[in-house]
């Protein structure tokens, strides 16, 4: 049988630069080999050392032109913990309200409808899979009463890029979401108001700010009902009417990742009172505050944890992170442990509470993020050795097993569901779960003149915990999560109004420049549209001694290595590569014309972000040196 070799470089409609190499058996259409590679060195960790910790909030934000607020927020939590300060309740509400808009409502919308949506548009489906297009034309939509489309083909037609109505409505509504966030952040995509222990938003006219936010939130609530209904319909169509070449349901099998699934979520939307209260409880002692972080993270209005299959391994971030390791076996870095390059403060062996990193495993504790030193070592791509700038995060478990990691909206909903809990503010129940099912509640009375009246009423969305993470499950999860974050925006707005009525409008603790313990270290996790954003900070006397972070995509884009143990020993690679290996080609054109549609669908469903920020080089000019942007690669930085 002949083998088809596909190089897709670059994969478009993602953020940054990613390439895929795959080998496919032409007869069975199955993938025998898959590797993804990223070509850009980020390097922020190198130049962050020596700077004030609070600068990291604004510097790491520049990692990405789409999800800058993701890094800014993770960094802010790391700074909160290292400073021993958290905001007052109104500060937490404002942080949450802003993030619900930018990035979530803005980013999920463009990912679904503008970056992933074209893969399910008439333009692509009718060209590469004409039989699916024919089926779509005769398949009635199940959620017409909300989105107004009669058939699945009608939805696909409006997903056509540039000219399709859904595409154009997304241009408009992503703007509205950004406006709502900017009311609090000052600007997008790099918030200017996030500070340790608070937020510097001017609240002189807070009533007006909340009103401006409310008008946009109302429009966007109708919008997320519209978007969810579209993707629920597409999911059901690909589940019930589209098959893979071996007769399996497309939605339930294509792009499957690990078995058993390994899903990590950080949670987000700090509980206004609990996150504020841990400062009072700790009394300014950063170690004491660290001991209260699990309580604060688990009080978040979306829940943290690491799940293996349908079981929570641990809901406690301080415990999970003890085993969070990163390797450089297959990536373009020197192994700092083998080179015996310790961080400036020597090898850290314990967390602030005295618990051994990597559960005392030597040398694995040196691969913990507090001990990492970034040493770039560029080289040629060699799939047998090193082939990417993406490093290899793995999770060491208490029992000694080592697992790969997947993250994203599906991971967040997965953990929310397994927590079996309810999030409610007064009469507004935002969501509830029971261990196998999650329900999201959206309010009615949300008139939006651009959308059908079916989006104006109350809506309850039900999400069933899937067995696996697949391409379509990830897309559906993103659409459900879009609705969930908007429901949480309402919860935060209501809580903010309560605080206003009670006269509690102060936002921040008295942090000021230079106000840092002589030595402290911490981490900050914040779940974002692309996954869990994770920052680790070590500071000495108000200067960064070491700063390491995982972009939300880092675990997902991990290359292959041999660090994992059973049951993942033969699945020791990130979800991108796994999802391609578990995809079959469904294109109805001759093999020499295959485009890799199923593979890019699988990868785009994660909303990859390869960090486009550092593609510049220093050039001499007129006797001075500037940083000159040499080339801007086509990416998703603006839309």
């Amino acid at each position: 049988m002949s083998t088809i070799k596909l190089w897709i470089d670059p994969i478009t409609r993602i953020e940054g630069h990613l390439a895929l190499y795959a080998e496919i058996d032409a007869a069975s259409r199955a993938v025998s080999k898959a590797h993804t590679t990223t070509m850009m060195f980020r390097g922020f960790e190198v130049f962050l050392r020596g700077r004030p910790p609070e600068d990291a909030i604004h510097i790491t934000s520049r990692t990405c032109g789409v999800c800058g607020a993701a890094h800014a927020n993770a960094s802010t939590r790391a700074c909160d913990a290292a400073a021993g300060m958290t905001p007052l309740p109104m500060g937490n509400v404002l942080r949450n309200m802003a993030y619900a808009m930018t990035d979530y409502t803005y980013d999920h919308s463009i990912i679904l409808n503008m970056l992933e949506g074209p893969d399910y548009s008439e333009a692509i489906v009718s060209k590469l899979t004409p039989s699916v297009w024919e089926t779509a034309k005769s398949t009635p939509a199940n959620y017409s009463s909300i989105h107004g489309y009669r058939t699945i083909a009608d939805i696909m037609r409006d997903l056509n890029p540039i000219q399709g109505r859904i595409w154009q409505l997304t241009v408009k509504h992503q703007r509205i979401a950004r406006e709502a966030g900017v009311l609090i952040y000052g600007r997008h995509s790099h918030p200017s108001t996030l500070i340790p222990g608070g937020i510097s938003t001017d609240v002189t006219l807070l009533d007006s700010l909340l009103q401006e936010y409310y008008t946009r939130l109302s429009l966007l609530t109708a919008w997320v009902k519209f978007v969810w209904a579209i993707w629920q319909d597409l999911y059901e169509f690909f589940r019930d009417h589209v098959s893979t070449p071996d007769g399996q349901s497309y939605a339930l099998t294509q792009g499957k990742t690990h078995d058993p699934p390994v899903l990590l979520a950080g949670g987000w939307s700090d509980d206004p009172e609990v996150y504020s209260g841990i400062y009072d409880e700790a009394g300014g002692d950063w170690v004491k505050l660290y001991s209260l972080l699990d309580k604060a993270y688990n009080a978040r209005w979306e829940k943290p944890g690491f799940a293996i299959g349908h079981e929570i391994y641990s809901p406690k971030p301080t415990e999970i992170q003890l085993g969070y390791l990163e390797f450089a076996d297959s990536s373009f870095y020197d192994d700092w442990v083998k080179a015996n390059v310790a961080p400036p403060y020597g090898w850290l062996k314990e967390d602030p509470l005295g618990r051994p990193l990597a559960y005392g495993n030597d040398p694995l504790f040196k691969y913990h993020m507090w001990n990492r030193t970034t040493i770039p070592r560029p080289g040629a791509i060699n799939f047998a050795e090193k082939y990417t700038w993406a490093a290899e995060p793995r999770l060491l478990l208490k029992d000694g097993r080592i697992a790969p990691i997947e993250t994203g909206p599906i991971a967040q909903l997965w953990l929310d569901t397994l927590h079996a809990t309810t999030v409610q503010v007064d009469n507004h129940k935002a969501w509830e779960s029971n261990g196998s099912q999650l329900k999201v509640y959206l309010p009615g009375g949300t008139v939006n003149p651009d959308l059908p009246e079916g989006t104006y009423g109350e809506l309850t969305i039900t999400w069933n915990l899937p067995k696996y993470s697949t391409t379509m499950e990830r897309l559906l999860a993103r659409a459900v999560h879009l609705a969930l974050v908007v429901s949480l925006a309402w919860a935060n707005l209501l809580y903010g109004l309560k605080l206003v009525n009670a006269g509690k409008t102060q936002t921040s603790r008295p942090w000021s420049f230079g106000k840092w313990p002589s030595f402290s270290y911490s981490f900050g996790w914040w779940h974002v549209p692309r996954g869990n954003c994770m920052h680790w900070l070590v500071q000495q006397n108000g200067k960064i001694a070491n700063y390491q972070y995982e972009a939300p995509t880092t675990p997902n884009v991990s290359p292959q290595n041999s660090r994992c143990t059973d049951p993942w020993k033969n699945q020791c690679r990130g979800p991108f590569e796994m999802s391609v290996i578990n995809s079959k080609v469904t294109e109805e054109v001759p093999p020499d014309q295959w485009t890799g549609l199923d593979f890019v669908r699988a990868i785009r469903s994660f909303d990859p972000c390869l960090a486009c920020a550092v593609h510049f080089e220093a050039k001499g000019e007129g006797g001075r040196v500037y940083n000159v942007i040499e080339k801007v690669i086509w990416n998703a930085c603006s839309l």
């Binding site: 890029p161 000219q163 154009q168 992503q174 703007r175 086509w634 603006s638 839309l639």
Partner: protein
């Protein structure tokens, strides 16, 4: 009355390039239909789609330094050509071309001034600063054609200079 938006474009970190942005900041103090488009590139697209008339304020490197011109933006892109737009560098012509590919057809104009320099981290050139009142007058005349009145108070040149100083922290 047709829906109209004035959009100033540019990045004050790059010398004369930021003139449109700074001027729009000034004019937006007095006129609700003026928007500072900054250097958002194609990210500004979502702000433009609801209008019948768009008037951009930007530099045009084809003009001699300080020369002011009123230009009509014509032409369009095909859907395929939109793939070639650089998301970060999107002049008014490409923004309007993009909108026409979307099936929209606004009347579009550019009040342009010729730049002297795009030197990073430098103040707008004397030629461009001196042209600021003429740009305001040209805009006022164009707006009159569509029944809009432009309001402005104070010293426009000083405001634009101050705008650069805020950005450059000088």
């Amino acid at each position: 009355m047709e829906r109209l938006l004035v959009v100033g474009l540019g990045n004050p970190l790059y010398g004369d390039d930021g003139f449109g942005s700074c001027l729009a900041q000034y004019l937006s103090l007095f006129n609700p239909f003026v928007l500072d488009g900054d250097a958002h590139g194609i990210g500004i697209l979502g702000n433009l789609t609801d209008y019948d008339i768009l008037i951009f304020v930007d530099v045009d490197a084809r003009l001699p330094p300080g020369v002011v011109a009123v230009e009509r933006i014509e032409g369009s892109l095909t859907v395929d050509q939109t793939r070639l737009v650089d998301a970060h560098r999107t002049p008014p012509s490409l923004l309007v071309g993009y909108m026409r590919a979307m099936g929209l057809n606004p009347k579009a104009f550019l009040i342009a001034v010729g730049p002297r320099s795009f030197e990073p981290l430098s103040m707008a050139s004397p030629e461009v600063l001196k042209a600021a009142p003429a740009v305001v007058e040209a805009l006022r005349e164009k707006l009159k054609e569509f029944g809009y009145e432009l309001r402005a108070e104070g010293d426009v040149v000083k405001y634009v200079e101050d705008c650069y100083r805020r950005v450059l922290r000088t």
